[in-house]
Symmetry: C2
Subunit: 657 residues, 2 copies
């Protein structure tokens, strides 16, 4: 494992135990398992599904509600033409190479990376050097444990390998093929030669309609639907800028060979925000003041080029004013993203923000910061925050002629001094005949500098000569009878511009998995007893109801408590199995349920119940109303367990563990 991890209470983290727990307790399960499964496809069971709903609800409150974003729900089916225009048909692909003997397929960049790294490790081993985990490239997300052969390498070759690895995201398919030849990179399992890399587009294709006449894809991101509706959203927002749209929904990537469990999947839930901003506003944000003191660990490009993987935290206001982060809007969202992750229970020591290297960004981005969470797979990109500039709106507007722009009345009318060309249309037609349109267009396209020069020609020679592609020999002469060129002042009352887009994009499945890792630990007295300490608002189920036994006297009390909790919107489950109360609570700790209520014979007599806290296993005893009120306060964050334990009588009468 790349990073020796420890849990909340300082014990070594064991991924195998957690993954076994998550599958045993049905947080997730491989999809279609009884049919043999399909790699990269997982189903969420009840705890995973509850966790996902809660994350989404918190996201919606934290972003959409708080900032009055315009939430939309667009279709996943997307016509070919849209994704051709957006650049995804041409650029949304990875390089793959095939083993012609076994039919096995590898992602070329991952393979080169993996093999070179493994050889470098073998070299260090042969030289008896310590494996220095800390200095590795911050971009490396995961590593597969391989059998490493201890073979010593030349210093020059080591340096060559290191240079290749530093630029691994920057190679074309052809270059990757050359590297594979040069360094004899083959199928690691069989040693057989691989075919040269070919581009593989990551979108799932389909076609719409009964005669399959409309080729389409499953969307690779929710963003395109938001861009296509820009004009309507602006209208809905009464033409007021800046504003943000938002969308929560599934997207799809046909990964070449997905591994890493929930972290690399073919169908995934995203939550994306498109914040539209005037590029001339300096990308200020009206609520930046609210977050200015939030401290972030920010690894920008120069820090990474200096080989650092860790820096001190910086207040976001300082980071923006010093130019570490480009502008307020980007800074605002980075701070808000961190606040969101902390709300979910992310470990504050395992969050960092890393700027993409120039060669690492998606085709539409001019800048990008990832919020990364540290897990046993390394630093995982969980939220991307990209500056897409005016890229998407521009390409769609150009392709469709839809006015994906903002028009605003200028406070001060703009006075523009410019050279204007006046054409005598009556004479233009007879003179140029079928070429009239082309010549006219060429005149309109003349630059200001050229117009100034041509005005002199007109004055001096009584005619001008301009380039018109496709007409005669490409040069066209125009007499002074047909054209005048004069300097005039034009007044513009409205301004028209294409907004820029800042896009915070959340991978909900990755966040979900990372939050589980950050909150998983085992009781010091017994390593087999796992606990997941979700914050109450995040926990899939808030309360476990545990009747002491299956005695019929307990049933009406359990039902009454349950109905009461349902009424106030608190989710609960009943465990009336035959297992001991301790066993039942252990099972429940694995599900991350923060509170438990025991119903015993005393309850039948006096309507009092014990309320148990998952993290401390301590208990208080109070009547039905008090217990329900305490739970509501705990779930809503109005009280902590410590508050409750001070207020209500501690219960130690019964050993439940």
């Amino acid at each position: 494992m790349a990073h020796p991890m420890t849990t909340k209470n300082g014990q070594p983290f064991d991924r195998a135990s957690l993954e076994s727990l998550m599958r045993r307790r049905l947080f997730y399960t491989p999809a279609f398992e009884i049919y043999g499964g399909v790699s990269g496809l997982y189903d969420l069971g009840p705890p995973g599904c509850g966790l996902q709903s809660n994350i989404i609800e918190i996201w919606r409150k934290h972003f959409v509600l708080k900032e009055n974003m315009l939430e939309v729900d667009c279709t996943m089916l997307t016509p070919y033409e849209v994704l051709k225009t957006s650049g995804h048909v041409d650029k949304f692909s990875d390089w793959m190479c095939k083993d012609p003997k076994t039919g096995e397929i590898f992602r070329a960049d991952h393979l080169v990376e993996e093999v070179l790294e493994s050889r470098l490790k073998g070299n260090k081993e042969a030289r008896g050097q310590k494996q220095d985990e800390e200095k590795e490239d911050p971009k490396k997300k995961k590593k597969k444990v391989k059998t490493i052969q201890a073979i010593k390498m030349d210093d020059a070759l080591v340096q060559e390998y290191e240079e290749v690895l530093a630029k691994i995201d920057n190679y074309s398919g052809e270059e990757l093929g050359l590297l594979m030849k040069k360094y004899e990179i083959k199928n690691p399992a069989t040693g057989s030669e691989l075919e040269p890399p070919v581009a593989f587009n990551l979108m799932f294709g389909t076609s719409i309609g009964p005669s399959s006449n409309l080729p389409a894809f499953l969307r690779p991101e929710t963003a395109q639907g938001q861009f296509l509706n820009f004009q309507k959203l602006l209208e809905f927002n009464q033409q007021s800028m800046p504003f943000a749209s938002a969308s929560i929904g599934k997207s799809f990537r046909n990964e070449i060979s997905p591994r890493s469990g929930l972290l690399r999947v073919r169908e995934f839930l995203m939550a994306e925000i498109e914040h539209f901003v005037d590029p001339e506003s300096g990308k200020k944000h009206p609520r930046f003041e609210d977050v200015k003191d939030v401290e972030l660990e920010l690894l920008n490009r120069s820090v990474q080029l200096a080989g650092k993987t860790h820096v001190e935290t910086t207040p976001i206001s300082k980071a923006v004013s010093e130019g570490i982060v480009d502008n307020e809007t980007l800074g605002y969202f980075l701070a808000r993203i961190q606040q969101f992750l902390l709300k979910l229970g992310a470990d504050p020591t395992k969050i960092r923000f890393r700027q993409h290297m120039k060669n690492e960004m998606a085709h539409y981005a001019t800048d990008c910061w990832d919020a990364e969470l540290l897990t046993s797979y390394g630093w995982i990109e969980c939220v991307g925050c990209a500056d897409r500039s005016a890229y998407d709106l521009t390409v769609h507007a150009k392709r469709t002629n839809a006015p994906l722009v903002v028009r605003e009345v200028r406070k001060e009318p703009l006075r523009i001094e410019e050279w204007q060309c006046d054409i005598d249309k009556k004479r233009f037609g007879p003179r140029f005949k079928k070429d009239g349109k082309a010549v006219e267009a060429a005149v309109e396209a003349l630059t200001q500098d050229l117009r100034e020069k041509l005005s002199m020609d007109l004055k001096n020679e009584g005619k001008i000569v301009i380039d018109v592609e496709g007409v005669g020999d490409g040069k066209v002469e125009i007499d002074k009878e047909l054209i005048a060129i004069e300097k005039r002042t034009r007044i513009e009352n409205t301004r028209e511009y294409t907004p820029n887009v800042i896009e915070p994009s959340f991978g909900i499945g990755r966040i979900l998995y990372s939050i589980v890792e950050h909150n998983y630990w085992t009781r010091a007295e017994d390593e087999a007893r796992g606990v997941i300490s979700f914050p109450p608002a995040v926990a899939p189920t808030k309360v476990l109801l545990v009747p002491l036994s299956t005695h019929p006297d307990f049933r009406p009390l359990v039902r009454r408590l349950g109905d009461k909790l349902t009424h106030v919107g608190v989710s609960y489950r009943v465990d009336d199995s035959n297992a001991s109360i301790g066993k039942r609570y252990s099972r429940n700790d694995e599900l991350g349920t923060p509170f438990g209520i025991t119903v015993d014979f005393q309850s039948v007599k006096d309507n009092t119940f014990t309320l148990r806290d998952r993290d401390t296993t301590r208990q208080v005893r109070a009547n039905e109303e008090e217990v329900c009120e305490a739970i509501m306060n705990l779930v809503e964050g109005k009280e902590t367990w410590d508050d409750v334990a001070k207020r209500l009588p501690i219960f130690e009468g019964q050993e439940v563990d």
Copy 2:
């Protein structure tokens, strides 16, 4: 239009006005409109998206939380093999026919239906008869208005047409082809001949993985994912029956030629419950008592065959005891579905439940009731409640050998008297060689009756002859040295059974559209002023904040009110445009926002605000705290507007409309 509709306040309903409102206010919009759009694909804008979220949240509380259902989130990508087994590859299709000249494609049953109906109307017109809307077949959901030619028909032909229409769901593709020939049904627009009907599968195909080696579909329902996980869900539920799983997610149908706006789309949100029940339990439901007095309008098969489209309501307990509805579990869900629809604001006079005719059901169903809502398109199926028996679990178990069964310890061990066959395995192999397995399997498959008869043969003739397919001539002789057949008593301590499934399946988009229709009306004094009276819990936005003008003094108050509402989870929007307050409230009535708060100069002085009720346009005036408290009570349903208007001072000082 099939049904002359009226709105809440008795005015004629005008669909065109409502649809124009819904598109203008961005409830929905055709997807990819700037690229020309794709029929059957729509995006939800902010109000539609908010409405959808609220419907889902209410659904989750009403069903999942209330009954502790096990919610799962399964993938949409589904391998071919799964849907082959479920029967969807073979049976989930419609018949289509093509116009070879224009390339236009028609859904065959819809075309036959449409043309015959139009001719019957023409006949009535020619005879000067009134078009009797009320007597039409309750299954007809929608009708396209066509130019009807008034041509008189023979009585015999009229009767023939009516018989064909009554059985329209029952014809095979070949039969539809014959009908088209017989009645000369052609392309209604051009009159040209159509090709014979061919089956068109309604699933979208794709393939998974880099070498496209795994053919797959986008799921046509969420149900299959739930069935495939049955064993794990039962385990999660600690083997306790009955229980229900639930799932909310998109499904896909490649409709042949979708029209009817949001009612027939190619990508749609479903919420499905699979309630697993012991078939021998009589399908009792533990919470049936809670709903026994709920009254429903129930059109079962015999009522429909008698030509009725309306019956009196019946308490569900009476309907179950009289056998109108087959069992308690089905009855329980029908009642709960009605309660849910009423919570959303469905008009109680526009809900009915209709049982499917035998020939109308999906391939997996043994019984099915639809909850239908009356709209301007006719009665629309919004919720289907099917009894899928053990169909799905059985076919998947058979295909995969996964034990999709419940095993329970019998309270009383079961004593079974039966004929058992004992094979002498040592002699069996040498005697039958490679056919040994087949012969053994044939012996094990023998029925009890046959075993009894064979035991006599064995006694009398010292041998038996049994059928073994594929071995020799299909007859195999077994000597008494190799086999014994005896009657013995076997004791079974566990019982193994495949549960039956009751499936309430909700089409969220159809419900959403119908709820909008049920709640739309126009102010009596001005037909142009539309209002949508969503219940507060359903309304996309709860509060509109309206500062009197853009005066800077109002800004801090608006922001403070907004933050306060966000804090208590109440969604709001600000309208600080230059329009008059009356105009702004009108705009807002169209969005269905139930409450408005005006911020005026008095507010700046004394921190009081007017609170406006959408439906009555009446206002009260109170301080910030009182106004926020009233809104919370109204949204949570703790108070009605009447309660608030009695409690807080009425405000009439300012004419806002």
